[in-house]
Symmetry: C2
Subunit: 162 residues, 2 copies
Amino acid sequence: MVEYTQRTDRPAMSEWIEQMAAYFESTEGMPLIAGRVLAFLLICDPPERTAAELSHALSASTGSISTNVRFLVRLGIVSKTTRQGREAALYRVEEHRWPELVSARMHRMVELESLIDSGLRMFSGQGERARRLRTVHEFYQWLSEEIPELWRRWERDSRRRS
Amino acid sequence: MVEYTQRTDRPAMSEWIEQMAAYFESTEGMPLIAGRVLAFLLICDPPERTAAELSHALSASTGSISTNVRFLVRLGIVSKTTRQGREAALYRVEEHRWPELVSARMHRMVELESLIDSGLRMFSGQGERARRLRTVHEFYQWLSEEIPELWRRWERDSRRRS
DNA sequence: TTATGGTTTCAGTGTCGAACGAAACCGATC
DNA sequence: GATCGGTTTCGTTCGACACTGAAACCATAA
């Protein structure tokens, strides 16, 4: 008889997981299963799980778990640990990495600055064309100073807290 | 003989438009055509265009232009103006709205706080489970104070500039 | 009223990617 | 060696959605 390792206990728990997955799907474009794995790893006890356990707990195919877990590892929010004498790899969420991910997301937003910039150089001659671009550009110039500043502040504040 | 209203003049221009569209597709999940329309409206001269002109300039079907222009209008970054005595509506980019859009995007990121919060309440009993959630929660608590602050600063700085 | 741009609606097409499940693979144990 | 979990690879299915093009629609001008 198989001992299923703690399925998503109560309905409330699996509902919370679904909401998390839905959030990541809609705002980050993350596959549903990846979001479920991430959410589950945040609250499962013990915190380390094998791919097989994830597959059982979330009733997703082993194939899907494999690709999505790899996705999360590449993202940097989940880590894979192996031990000798134990064939199964263990996955756990690296929750302290969360701020880095959000930071990276914001930096990608600011990346648009360089594109706007090149457009501005390209059409600098024409007054009206440049006007609209300049308005957007001024904003990104401001933002691209503020965002790094924001994360320096986070470093400082979180260091102080601990 | 038909007078095409200024197709994407030089190859450099249409390439810039493609890069913009690609950016919005990859980081915002925006349809390619919507990104093209947005980019084109940022640099076209004169700045107001009819749907038919957009269709010509970007060689996209009128149907696609219709749906994507509506999408951009609903987003708030493009406006539609009609005049009496003129059946064609004119579209123009509302470049001063750009900061609002970026702000909205960031606020959606912060929305995760409430979900994490509810999870935290749900599992507050168990020590280990709550630990990971609390780490993430502390970050979002900090962030959800900083983000509104950031935009207050933008209001202030941009007012000063003008 | 009819004719003339222009715009929207809608059904159909093609593409992309999420998810599955079976087969292959890999390490460790017996 | 063979066996046994566990993991990855891979071909396939399925659904979503971007895009098209033609038909319907609408407002103005003749």
